[in-house]
Symmetry: C2
Subunit: 341 residues, 2 copies
C-alpha cells in the first residue's frame, strides 16, 4: 500500500483540497477550489443560519474529499488514505473546533474535525490547527526544517502568522491557540493592528505593514520623485516595492531596511524565548530576498544576548507559495502517525 494524506485549507474565500504523499508530492488537487461560506452573504447571522451553513459546507467538503480519494485510487488502487489534516483560522488542535473565527460566517465553536470524522469513520487521523501552524509542520516534514527539533516558521502574508516548533512538535499551549507572535507588541502605542490592538508586529512586518511603511516614508520625506509615489494606496503591494527597490528607488530600499530592522528585533525576542536552530520566513514579503533577509539578520544579531549570537539561521522557507496550504495541512497527518507510534 502507498500511504497518502489529505490536506484541507479553510481560507476566508476558498477551501483548498489536495492529496499528498509522504514526500510532499501533491497527487491530486481540486481546481478550481471550492468556495468557503461568506460572511458578507450572511449579514444577520444567527445560530440556526450558522448551523445550516455548516451542515451544507461539511456535506460539500465531504463529497469533494470522496472525489479526491476516488480519483487517486483510480490511478493507483494501492493508495491508502491514512488521515485528513485541516488548516483553518482559529483552529483548535486539541478539540478539533474552529472557534469564533472572525472571517468565517459561523457562530461560536464549530466541531469541524468531528463533523468530518462522522463522514469518514474509517480514517484514523483527522486533525486541525491554524494555517501558520500547519505551515510549520509542512516545513518540518517536507521542507527546510527536516531533522530540526527547534525552529520557528514566520509567514509574511496579509498578516504575520507563526508556528513554533519546540522539541520536535508544535507548541499548542494550554488551549490549543499558541503561536500568535504577530500580535506581540513591537512599538508601544504604535500602529493600529487589524485585531484592534496597537503596535503589533503584524502591523509593521507583513505585506500590509510594508505598504503602510511606504506611505509613512513618502509622507516623512515628501518624496514625490519616488516611483512608489505614483501608486495609489489601495494598489500598493510588496511586489511593487520589490520592483522599485530593484530599480534603485531609495524609498523602496528604506522600506525593506526598516521592515527588516523591526522584524529582526522581534525575532531576537523570539530567540530569547525559544532559542531555535533556525527561523524560516515564508510568503510574499520573504520573496524580497536579501532586501529583507539582510537587515532582518543584522538587526536580530544586534539585539541578541551574546550567548545566542551567530547561532540562529534565518532561512527562506522551502515550501512553495501556491501549495503551502494543502502541504501544511497534510503534514498534520504524518505528525499524528509519528506520535501514535
Amino acid at each position: 500500500m502507498r500511504q497518502v494524506a489529505i490536506g484541507i485549507d479553510v481560507g476566508g474565500t476558498n477551501t483548498a483540497i489536495g492529496v499528498v504523499d509522504h514526500e510532499g508530492n501533491i497527487l491530486y488537487e481540486k481546481k478550481p477550489q471550492m468556495a468557503t461560506p461568506q460572511k458578507r452573504e450572511n449579514p444577520t447571522m444567527t445560530g440556526a443560519v450558522s448551523e445550516e451553513l455548516i451542515e451544507k459546507y461539511i456535506a460539500n467538503l465531504s463529497s469533494e474529499i470522496k472525489t479526491a480519494i476516488e480519483t487517486v485510487q483510480q490511478i493507483n488502487p494501492e493508495i491508502e488514505v491514512v488521515g485528513i489534516g485541516i488548516g483553518a483560522p482559529n483552529g483548535n488542535y486539541y478539540t478539533g473546533n474552529i472557534e469564533n473565527a472572525a472571517n468565517l460566517p459561523f457562530v461560536g465553536a464549530v466541531a469541524f474535525a468531528d463533523l468530518i470524522q462522522a463522514n469518514f469513520p474509517a480514517i484514523k487521523h483527522i486533525k486541525l490547527t491554524n494555517d501558520a501552524n500547519a505551515a510549520a509542520l509542512g516545513e518540518m516534514i517536507y521542507g527546510g526544517g527536516k531533522g530540526m527539533k527547534n525552529f520557528l516558521m514566520i509567514t509574511l502574508g496579509t498578516g504575520l502568522g507563526s508556528g513554533l516548533i519546540v522539541d520536535g512538535d508544535l507548541v499548542y499551549g494550554a488551549d490549543g491557540f499558541a503561536g500568535e507572535v504577530g500580535h506581540t507588541t513591537l512599538i508601544p502605542n504604535g500602529r493600529l493592528c487589524g485585531c484592534g490592538g496597537y503596535g503589533h508586529l503584524e502591523a509593521y512586518c507583513s505585506a500590509t505593514g510594508i505598504k503602510r511603511t511606504v506611505y509613512e516614508l513618502l509622507t516623512q520625506y515628501n518624496a514625490t520623485e519616488s516611483e512608489l509615489a505614483k501608486v495609489p494606496y489601495s494598489d500598493m503591494t510588496a511586489k511593487i516595492v520589490y520592483d522599485a527597490a530593484e530599480n534603485g528607488d531609495p524609498i523602496a530600499k528604506e522600506v525593506f531596511q526598516n521592515t527588516g530592522e523591526l522584524l529582526g528585533r522581534s525575532l531576537a525576542d523570539a530567540v530569547h524565548y525559544l532559542s531555535p536552530e533556525a527561523i524560516f520566513l515564508f510568503g510574499g514579503a520573504a520573496a524580497a530576498g536579501e532586501y529583507i533577509f539582510k537587515p532582518t539578520k543584522e538587526s536580530m544579531e544586534r539585539h541578541l544576548l551574546p550567548v545566542f549570537r551567530n547561532k540562529v539561521k534565518i532561512l527562506p522557507s522551502k515550501l512553495k507559495e501556491g501549495s503551502v496550504a494543502i502541504i501544511g495541512a497534510s503534514a498534520l497527518v504524518w505528525k499524528e502517525m509519528e506520535k501514535a507510534k
Copy 2:
C-alpha cells in the same frame, strides 16, 4: 528505600547544597553556605588559573556533597540518593557545562556536570540548568504548577529570570539556553539593561527596575514630599517601596502601577507565544502582592487577543523564598527520573 535528590545552586557569592525528598522537604542543608570562587579575587584570569580554581571548587563541592549524603544516611540508612540537580548561571542542560558565566571567574565552558559525575560514578542522574529554569521545575514538581503541562515561571529578583514549561517539560531550545524573557525588548531604545542592551523587560520589571522607576517618578514630579525621596539611590529596595505604598505614598503606588502595566504587556506577549495555563511570579517584587498583581493582570488582559482573554492565571509562586535555589535544582532530578521511565 526512601529516594532523595541533591540540589545545588551555584550563586555568584555562595553555593547552596541540600538534600530534598520527593515532596520538597529539605532533609539537610549546608549552613553556612560554601563560597563560590570570586571573580574580583582573580582579576588577571587565565585558562590555567581558571582550571586550578575549578579543580579546587569541584573538590570542595564534592566533599560537601559526601557530607550531605552521609548526614542524611546516618539519620535514615534507607535513604538512596538518586541524582544531583545543579542550578548555575549560563548552565547548559544538554552539555552539563557552565558557559561564559559573566559573574563566575571561569574561562570559557566548564564541564561542570561531568566533573561532579566523575566523583559520584554511582549516581545516575546528574543534570544542570540555570536557576530560573530550575525554579520552574520546582514549581512543577513541588509547587503550584503540579499537574500543569503549560506554564511560565517569572523570577523577579535583581534581574528577571524565566523558565518556560511547554507540554510538561522545560523549553531548552536548540542550544540549551532558551527562556531569557528578561532580555526581550519592552521599550525600544529604553533603559540600559545590565546586559548592555536597551529597553529590556529586566530593566523595568525587577527589583532593580522598580528602584529605577522610583527615581524616574521622583524626578518627573519633583516629589520631595514622598517618603521615598528621603532614601538614597543605593539604599532603595522593593521592600522600602512596598512599605511606602502601605503608608499611602502616591509615588510608591504609581511605581507598582507602572511596573505592573509594563509587566502585564510583556506577559501578554508571552501568552501570544505560548498560551500557558498560568504564569507564576516569584521573588521580592512579587511579594508586593496586589500592588503588583492587580495592574499586571489588568494590563495583560487589555493586551491579549480576544481568544486568550480570561484564561491565563497570574499566581504567586508556592515555593519559599529562602529554599527555592536548592528546591529548584533538586527538581531537575525527579524530572530526569520521569523522563527515564
